[in-house]
Subunit: 196 residues, 2 copies
Amino acid sequence: MASRSTQILEAAARMIARRGVRGLRVEELAAEAGVSTGLIYYHFKDRTGILRHTLAFINDRAARYTQDRPAGAEPLGPREELEHALLLELQDTPEVEENSSAWGELRASAVFEPVLREDLARATLVWVQEIAALLGRVHPLSPAAALAAAAERLTALVEGLSMRWLSGGLAIDHARTLLKEAVATELGHLEAARNS
Amino acid sequence: MASRSTQILEAAARMIARRGVRGLRVEELAAEAGVSTGLIYYHFKDRTGILRHTLAFINDRAARYTQDRPAGAEPLGPREELEHALLLELQDTPEVEENSSAWGELRASAVFEPVLREDLARATLVWVQEIAALLGRVHPLSPAAALAAAAERLTALVEGLSMRWLSGGLAIDHARTLLKEAVATELGHLEAARNS
DNA sequence: GTCTATAGTCAGATAGAC
DNA sequence: GTCTATCTGACTATAGAC
């Protein structure tokens, strides 16, 4: 099932989350994945190739855990679903922390590695649209532009809070509280705009 | 006036903004600063020492341009001052872009370099308190905790937007618009909370 | 305090066998 | 597809003269 290259990408996500993009050593990655360095270059061409494919890999994985709802769970209301979707990225479970940490690293690296930008921009857009759609289910009458702007703010806030959490300055519980309040604030704003 | 070590730190901020922390080469830094590598190690001990001092340096510099208002400018109202303070970090003038970019890099690096965390946390706290104070001047009756939370959200949002801007996915004008709306949203929320 | 020269290390990448 | 062995270049850090 898990092909060799998948195995390498899983290890790469792990290593990036643990040591950062800057700390990613191809030889170390090889050890972690249980393969040789030669094989890594065979599959991904060079260091940048590893990063590009790892970015795609964590996006797929995030898309998967975003949509998976536990089988027995009762269906959530639109508002709960929105909160749930945003809070997903601020959890200190190993899988999510790994994804958030790697995502943050890749975002930061993209400032100086243009090859990463396009994929990152695409993935961000998908995320923003997903949140905008959820906002639209809470406030169906709000104009699309207002929903999109709110979604951009909320997702950018998640990234900002996530960075602070991971860099040690902000407790995860507090980050989650701040985010929930931001959701309330944005929803209140959409409400108010509609009634004017 | 500009001592040798200041000269080196100015160059370091420039290099980090241009190439990132990972891309900072001591030899390149030496060339940029017009000194030898030996001198850099003499002043800053090692690569980490360079990073730590550069972080302190850009904080001081940001504190300076935050407080400097042009001499002839008419005094701003509290609301305008708040917006002004937040938008400061989202400008594409060379000096600010350099500071924002270096700040973002150092923030991202701190996830994996514990030595940077303490200074970063302290600097963040100062910034948050400054914004909270400005919020308090707009809404003097709001409880301190609400002001602090709003300030944390707004500053985290600035960092999130700044990252997206620098990594190429978000136009600066749009980032500024989103931030202005966020200020309005947060102020509206403080207002609403007071009337309940 | 400042420079020059260099030691020592390590990481990215490739060649070639299997 | 996968591994072993290795090359080459680059970068940090130090020693020692001035």
